[in-house]
C-alpha cells in the first residue's frame, strides 16, 4: 500500500493558510454544497459573492468587540474573502474568514443584540453620513438567512458518542470486521479503537457515514467474516451504537439477476486507491454485499478479499476503464499485454458481471476540475490533506494531494464522506496536512 505515513510533520499545520494559497494559485475551492455530508452541506444555498454579513471589526480602538458590515468578495468552501463596507474598490485590506465562526452574523444581528456597528478607523473619515452610505449600499443587497448561526450549531452536532461500539473493517485483514469503540468524534470523523487494543493505540479513523462501519451484529446478519473478541465484559458506559446512526444502503433484489461467484468486473483497489483493477466476485453475501478479490494479488486464504455493496460506486463493469480512457491495472503476473478483456475472460473461463447490475447513477455533484478541497488520505485515514480535483469521470473524482507525486492520487466517489470543503479542518478543529 502506498502510504505517506511518517512523511508529514515538516511544516506545522498552523502555518498553512488557505486564503493566500487560493489567491496565489488563482484557483477556487469546491462549494460547500458539493459535500452533502459536511456541516451546512445541505443548507448553503444563497451564500455567494456579494452577500453582506456582520463581522468583527479588527481595525478599531474600541476596547470591546465591535462589528462592521463586510461583503463576500470570493468564496472558497467555508472560507470567504471579505471587504469591509466603505473600502469600495480598494482590496488592500481584504481578509479571509471562515463563515461558520461565531463572529459572523446576518446583517441585523448587531441591532437585535444591542451592539452598534462601528466603521474601521482607517476609513472613518471617508463619510460624514454613514447612515446614508449604508442605506445606499445595503438596500436590495443580499445577506445570510436569519437562522444562519443556529444552523451552523445544529450542523456541527454529531450523534456518535465516545464508548459507542461498532463493527469496523479490520485494517490489517480487510476480509473481516472487528468490534471497535468510538474514542473521539471530530467533525463527524470517528477515531475507533479496536476492542482488545491494550494501550488504545490500535485505532482506525473514518467518517460516521463510511461504508466501512456498521452496527454490532451486521457481519453475522450478512455472512461477513468477523474477528470474535475475547473481551467478555463490557466496560461501564459502553453501548452498541444504534443501527439508525449508520448510512443506509439501497435495497436490492438478489433473487433474480444478481452478481454470482466468479463474475469479473473492475474495482478500485482498496490497498492502492490510485488504481482500478481487474477483479472477481468471490462471494455473494446477504443484503446486496459482495466479497471482491483483485485478480493476481489474492492471498490463498482469501484474507485480502474486501466487501463492497453491489451498488457501490467503486465497482465498475468490464470495459469501464477502456471506455473512459482510464488505465486498467491488469492482474499481477499477467504477461499478455496490452490487457484484453475478451482474451482474459476466455482464458479464465469466466463471464463479465452484467452491466445492468452496476450503479450508473451520476449525481449533479458540482465538482469541477482544478477545485481545491480537503481530502482524507485513505491509505492513512487519520490524515486530512490539501488536495485538488484533477479529473472527473461521471461520478468518480481523481484526487491529487498537493505537493505529492501523482502516484499518491486516489479515485474517490463524488459523494464520499472523506472529502471536505476548504476550511473544514479549521471549523472542526481537525489538523490539516499542508502541501508537502
Amino acid at each position: 500500500a502506498k502510504s505517506k505515513a511518517g512523511m508529514y510533520g515538516l511544516v506545522p499545520s498552523e502555518s498553512f493558510d488557505w486564503g493566500p494559497y487560493i489567491c496565489v494559485n488563482n484557483t477556487s475551492g469546491a462549494p460547500v454544497s458539493c459535500f452533502k455530508h459536511a456541516p451546512m452541506g445541505t443548507c448553503w444555498g444563497g451564500i455567494e459573492e456579494g452577500v453582506r454579513i456582520e463581522v468583527l471589526n479588527s481595525d478599531t480602538n474600541h476596547s470591546t468587540k465591535v462589528y462592521w458590515i463586510a461583503e463576500i468578495v470570493k468564496l472558497a468552501g467555508f472560507k470567504a474573502l471579505l471587504r469591509y463596507e466603505g473600502f469600495d474598490v480598494d482590496s488592500s485590506k481584504d481578509f479571509w474568514c471562515n463563515l461558520c465562526i461565531p463572529e459572523v452574523h446576518p446583517v441585523g444581528w448587531c441591532a437585535s443584540s444591542g451592539k452598534p456597528l462601528v466603521p474601521p478607523k482607517s476609513i472613518q473619515h471617508k463619510h460624514s453620513n454613514w447612515k446614508a452610505f449604508l442605506v445606499k449600499r445595503l438596500t436590495g443587497a443580499k445577506t445570510l438567512p436569519p437562522d444562519f448561526n443556529v444552523k451552523v450549531h445544529e450542523n456541527t452536532q454529531f450523534p456518535f458518542k465516545k464508548l459507542m461500539r461498532v463493527e469496523v473493517v479490520d485494517k490489517n485483514y480487510l476480509c473481516r470486521t472487528r468490534v471497535a469503540l468510538v474514542e473521539q468524534v471530530i467533525g463527524g470523523r470517528l477515531r475507533l479503537v479496536y476492542e482488545e487494543s491494550q494501550d488504545g493505540s490500535d485505532d482506525f479513523w473514518c467518517h460516521m457515514y463510511s461504508p466501512l462501519i456498521h452496527n454490532i451484529g451486521w457481519s453475522r446478519s450478512i455472512g461477513h467474516r468477523f474477528k470474535r473478541s475475547d473481551v467478555t465484559k463490557k466496560i461501564e458506559g459502553q453501548v452498541d451504537a444504534p443501527p439508525q446512526l449508520f448510512q443506509k444502503v439501497r435495497d436490492v433484489d438478489q433473487s433474480v439477476d444478481w452478481f454470482k461467484d466468479g463474475m469479473k468486473l473492475e474495482a478500485i483497489d482498496p490497498l492502492n486507491l490510485s488504481a482500478i483493477c481487474v477483479a472477481t466476485v468471490r462471494k455473494v453475501l446477504a443484503d446486496g454485499y459482495l466479497m471482491i478479490g483483485i485478480d493476481g494479488s489474492e492471498a490463498v486464504d482469501g484474507s485480502d478479499w474486501f466487501c463492497y455493496h453491489g451498488t457501490s460506486p467503486s465497482i465498475f463493469p468490464v470495459g469501464f476503464c477502456e471506455i473512459n480512457s482510464i488505465e486498467l491495472t491488469s492482474p499481477r503476473g499477467y504477461t499478455k499485454l496490452p490487457f484484453k478483456w475478451f482474451d482474459y475472460l476466455r482464458e479464465t473461463a469466466s463471464i463479465a458481471a452484467p452491466v445492468k447490475l452496476f450503479n450508473k447513477e451520476v449525481p449533479n455533484h458540482g465538482f469541477q476540475r482544478g477545485m481545491k478541497l480537503e481530502a482524507v488520505d485513505l491509505m492513512e485515514p487519520r490524515l486530512v490533506c490539501v488536495a485538488t480535483v484533477t479529473r472527473i469521470v461521471h461520478r468518480l473524482l481523481r484526487i491529487h494531494f498537493d505537493g505529492w507525486e501523482d502516484e499518491y492520487d486516489q479515485w474517490v466517489d463524488c459523494e464520499s464522506p472523506d472529502l471536505y470543503p476548504v476550511g473544514w479542518c479549521q471549523l472542526t478543529g481537525y489538523q490539516l496536512q499542508p502541501p508537502r
Binding site: 451564500i47 438596500t139 443587497a141 445570510l144
Partner: protein, 34 residues
C-alpha cells in the same frame, strides 16, 4: 419571496444600529432550507 431555481429569496426589513442611531433597510435573505 422570489424563486430563483430551487432557492427562495425573501425580502427582509433589516435593522441597522450605528453610533449615530438606528434605521432599517430592505435586504434579501435566502430561505436556504427549501
Amino acid at each position: 419571496g422570489v424563486e430563483t431555481g430551487a432557492r427562495k429569496w425573501e425580502q427582509k426589513q433589516v435593522q441597522i444600529k450605528t453610533l449615530e442611531g438606528e434605521f432599517s433597510v430592505t435586504m434579501w435573505a435566502s430561505d436556504n432550507h427549501k
